[in-house]
């Protein structure tokens, strides 16, 4: 993590996109920042939390995205500048409040940063947050580079205060996680005072109660402000045009699409034929600006990732301005010139431009990636996604899988979002049979658990992590208990939001900036809700399995099993081996009948290796973290664990 406060005005630094945005917020004098961890967004809050340790800035990891947005909104209502950060699908979670917030308006500058993940590199969806800006009628800004990420953040706060409403800034993985040179601006002094005023007229945006009613009046006001934003956008330096005065093709793009388009035009040497209009303000579109550039040519290519947000909005504008700008041929996602799924890259843009211009260019052929992967497959062994050595989830799913198989009633597990989602793959013995959004595993299980009268007699389980438990499992669990659903919830409690980098959550007694806070006890919460609660150490395979049998056989309502063990990568467990492991080669059964490589074929901890020549299992000393679990699964006692002094 870079110390974002260490550098002074004018310094040139290499910053990650997320760091640039965090620095931008600091330069804007942000007072409160809240978020929920989610790749690719997490570093923004992490960096601010770091900066909060020596300044007047309050930063929190909230229970979920909706709460984060509410916490940040309160600061704005009190006149402070506030920031809220989340990943794309987090906006779905926050969206109900977002709609009402947009209706009530804000006071101190308030910015919502959403980081999307085209290609779902770290997600189970390719969701798009951009549509929310249009849906709830708030301005949307999209940085197209690292410097812009910083500058745009600063500007977003000012814009928010001009229109007295929340402004959305959207980034993508390739921008958030890549690094580039950024020139820093000044950091303001801190003198903000928080006070919430509410005695004015209900229509007074700064003095009255903050509420979206009277709805039509406030809605009208909101739209009026949005039109003001359009006027500002028409003159915004974040919207730039490069290219000839009379281009053959106008390429309209935003965000990472800008970088890909620029590179494609360069590589093809089409600077004289293709004009590049880069938009930084993508909702509402700057209509005057667009009218000017759309008039330059009749061939328009729209380059953007995933869905046709920009394309659709440009088409609507172009249709309305038809008499003024003439009829256009628009290339993009609708006609298949640009794919509608996955990330973009310069090659895709090159092929789009080739298709339109007919230029002959021998670059990387379109099927290059696919061919390269095929060739790579034959050479290097395919690498599965796998749990880390010593991961408690491997042990937990071992027991869950075993218990369900032995129970033999076609029981199944509804999954949730976290590292443990990997249990849809062989590393978790393919135990999970559904995975959707945060908290949905328990909600779906709650529904399955009511299907008994329709003849369903399969045991129903759900799993969730400790962070997910607080995020969105709680309401589903309450529902299951209240509706007398028959389910077992297994909480895989590894004491932290491991998947996104150990951010704290309400179950822990430390906050985002390292201060002591009360940690909430999951077991006591579940008991209070009315569930039967058991707690086990997942490394104790025998007890865990037996407990699962008890729960599977107990009839009546909701049971919760908490499998508690720190993540293998947690600071507390990292670099600490509990046991020194070895394999007694005289005892190892290897691939013989009686074992058939249970450890390296099925359990598959990366710390275990199969020596093909010797036909024996060995421990990889470097990778093994000494958890000792493989000693419990070995049928012959060949794996020996020796306590570390």
């Amino acid at each position: 993590m870079t110390d974002l406060l260490a550098h002074q005005e004018g310094a040139r630094c290499l910053l990650m996109g997320n760091e640039a945005m965090a620095r931008g917020a600091l330069e804007a004098g942000v007072n409160v920042a809240a978020g929920y961890p989610g790749t690719p967004s997490s570093e923004i809050i992490e960096n601010l939390a770091n900066a909060a340790q020596n300044g007047r800035l309050y930063v929190e990891w909230s229970t979920n995205e909706k709460v984060a947005l509410e916490v940040a909104a309160a600061a704005s209502f009190a006149g402070l500048r506030s920031l809220c950060v989340m990943k794309q699908n987090g906006v779905n979670v926050a969206s109900d409040f977002l709609l009402h917030l947009a209706g009530s308006g804000t006071r101190g500058g308030m910015v919502l940063v959403a980081c999307d993940d085209p290609g779902a590199l770290s997600s189970v969806n390719e969701g798009e947050s951009r549509h929310f800006a249009r849906l709830v009628e708030i301005p949307l800004l999209e940085p197209g580079g690292f410097q812009e990420a910083l500058d745009m953040m600063k500007w977003a706060f000012a814009l928010s205060e001009k229109i007295r409403n929340i402004v959305m800034v959207r980034s993508v993985t390739r921008l958030s996680h890549a690094s580039g040179n950024v020139v820093l601006g000044p950091l303001p002094g801190v003198d903000a005072q928080a006070v919430f005023r509410y005695n004015g007229n209900i229509l007074d945006p700064m003095e009255g109660p903050v509420i979206s009613m009277p709805v039509t009046a406030k809605h009208g006001l909101q739209q009026k402000k949005l039109r003001q934003a359009v006027a500002l956008f028409d003159a915004s330096p974040f919207n730039t045009y490069t290219g000839p005065d009379a281009p053959e093709i106008l390429c309209i793009t935003a965000s990472a699409g800008y970088l890909y388009s620029k590179e494609a035009i360069d590589l093809l040497g089409l600077e004289d034929r293709v004009g590049l209009l880069k938009l930084g303000t993508t909702w509402p579109l700057p209509s005057r600006l667009l009218a000017k550039y759309l008039a330059l040519t009749h061939q328009i290519l729209i380059v953007e990732e995933v869905t046709s947000f920009l394309e659709d909005n440009v088409k609507i504008l172009a249709a309305g301005m038809g008499p003024e700008i003439g009829v256009k041929t628009i290339f993009g996602k609708t006609d298949g010139t640009i794919p509608s799924v996955g990330e973009l890259n310069p090659d895709i843009v090159i092929h789009a431009l080739l298709k339109i211009t007919g230029v002959d260019y021998q670059g990387v052929p379109a099927d290059y990636t696919q061919r390269a992967e095929t060739i790579a497959d034959t050479g290097a062994p395919a690498r599965d996604l796998t749990f880390c050595p010593g991961c408690p989830h491997r042990a937990s799913f071992w027991s869950i899988h075993m218990a369900l198989q032995m129970d033999n009633r076609q029981g199944f597990v509804c999954g949730d979002i976290g590292c443990y989602s990997l249990a849809i793959f062989p590393t978790g013995f393919s135990t999970l049979k559904t995975v959707h959004s945060m908290g949905s595993g328990t909600g779906i299980a709650s529904g399955f658990g009511k299907l008994g009268p329709f003849g369903m007699n399969q045991p129903v389980l759900a799993v969730c992590g400790d962070s997910t438990f607080f995020h969105a499992v709680l309401p589903a669990l309450v529902n299951a208990v209240h509706q007398r659903s028959e389910i077992t919830l297994v909480v895989l409690d590894n004491s932290g939001t491991a998947m996104t980098g150990f951010q704290p959550h309400p179950g822990l007694s430390v906050d985002a900036s390292g201060n002591a806070v009360p940690g909430l006890d999951i077991a006591r919460i579940c008991e209070a809700i009315g569930a039967g609660v058991r707690v086990c150490d997942p490394f104790d395979l025998e007890t865990t399995r037996q407990t699962l049998f008890d729960l599977l056989e107990s009839r009546g309502g909701v049971n919760v099993l908490i499998l508690k063990k720190r993540c293998a990568l947690s600071p507390e467990r990292k670099a600490r081996k509990d046991f020194k492991m070895s394999v007694d080669q005289a005892v190892c059964l290897g691939s013989n009948c009686g074992c058939n490589r249970l450890c390296t074929r099925i359990f598959r901890c990366p710390g275990l290796i199969w020596n093909k020549e010797k036909k024996m299992t060995e421990i990889d000393e470097v990778i093994c973290v000494g958890c000792g679990v493989c000693a419990s699964i070995c049928p012959s006692g060949a794996v020996v664990k020796k306590e570390k002094a």
Partner: protein, 376 residues
């Protein structure tokens, strides 16, 4: 005998609903597990040949091969199998009283064998409430604790596998005919292990016409009584037509028509009513409560009975011709019924790579199907 692996066992036995849950494949390795009377493959195993398949009494059982191994001759199809003598028996004075199913012959023979060091340990079947639980017993005085029939599928042979893994080399096993078949298959060293020494010193087989699915019986009975209080169960001879359940507060009678649907389908492909591969076989003595029918088959069996009687563990008596004939007819009927099912389900003597549950010389099949039950 043809041997395959876990994948084929899964297809042939589980896929065709033939698993009886005998326990022969349990805990030989980490892959087959038993829980509440059901056997499951918990993870895939890709070996092409394994002990699971080799021992299973429902997969590729070649009766000629078993017969040659046990009696030095081909399988004859005789109703009661190969035997020396059939007598009436019950526990002798030396035996402490127990909750015996009938005469306590099984418990007495096991106790005597342990006491006289014919075996180091006995593999028996205890109960936990209703549930049958495999048990290894080494002290002859503890044998009576396993008395009484649990008329359900029991993974008893898992305890045999544990015993072998723990180094026992002189075991006695008590079990149903399917379990005796599995033990016989295992004793033939089907995997051609080097330095194989037969670890089984004694087999005591039970008579069995059918057993009950443990899970189905538990859920059936749990609607009628507290299953944890069940102490015993019996099926009295005709014309009673009921199953009697002994509970903490008296007897519960259930019509056999309600019980019969709980018989696992695999019992209807079973040829053996009297544990033909055991050293001795024990069943009820119809019409003489408190006594057993004992079939002495092997030389070892004869010696065991002799010794038990001499030491006061066993009391013997004669067997009326009528009873013998009844038994023989019942055994024949079971063979004929099951052969017809095996043929209908194409589970017997298949050719061209199609695997079979059972292989019997075709002439013998015809002979059994053509036999007539005897009349007094």
């Amino acid at each position: 005998m043809h041997i395959y692996g876990a994948k084929q066992l899964q297809e042939d036995v589980f896929g065709q609903d033939l698993c009886i849950g005998c326990g022969a494949c349990i805990d030989l390795c980490p892959y087959f597990k038993s829980h509440n009377g059901k056997t499951t493959l918990v993870f895939p195993c890709d070996l092409s040949e394994g002990r699971c398949y080799a021992y299973c009494p429902k997969a590729e059982v070649d009766l000629d091969e078993l017969s040659r191994q046990a009696w030095d001759g081909p399988y004859t199809g005789r109703s009661l199998g190969n035997f020396r003598e059939i007598i009436a028996t019950r526990a002798g004075k030396k035996m402490s009283n127990g909750n015996f199913q009938a005469g306590g012959t099984v418990s007495s023979l096991v106790a005597s064998a342990l006491k006289h060091h014919r075996i180091d340990a006995a593999i028996l079947t205890d109960r936990d409430g209703l549930k049958p639980v495999p048990r290894r017993v080494t002290d002859w005085r503890e044998v009576v604790r396993c008395a009484g029939s649990k008329l359900m599928v029991s993974p008893t042979l898992a305890a045999m596998n544990h015993g072998l893994r723990d180094g026992f080399s002189c075991l006695g096993v008590v079990g149903t005919p399917c379990q005796m078949t599995a033990v016989a298959k295992m004793r033939g060293n089907p995997m051609s292990k080097e330095n194989f020494a037969d670890p089984i010193a004694l087999t005591i087989g039970l008579f069995c016409n059918w057993s009950l699915d443990a899970r189905q019986l538990a859920s059936f009975l749990s609607e009628k009584t507290d299953v944890s209080g069940i102490r015993g169960m019996d099926i009295p001879p005709p014309p009673a037509n009921v199953m009697v359940i002994e509970t903490g507060n008296g007897q519960l009678e259930i019509p056999l028509s309600e019980i019969k649907p709980l018989i696992p389908p695999t019992c209807f492909i079973c040829l053996d009513m009297t544990s033909e591969w055991a050293d001795v076989s024990v069943g009820m003595f119809e019409g003489r409560p408190g006594w057993n029918t004992l079939i002495i088959r092997s030389e070892k069996g004869a010696e065991l009975v002799q010794q038990a009687r001499d030491a006061g563990f066993l009391e013997t008596g004669g067997m009326p011709v009528d009873t013998h004939m009844h038994l023989s007819n019942a055994a024949l009927e079971k063979k004929q019924r099951s052969l017809r099912t095996l043929i209908r389900r194409e589970l017997i003597n298949n050719n061209n790579d199609k695997r079979s549950a059972l292989r019997v010389a075709p002439g013998i099949v015809q002979k059994i199907l053509g036999s007539k039950t005897e009349r007094p």
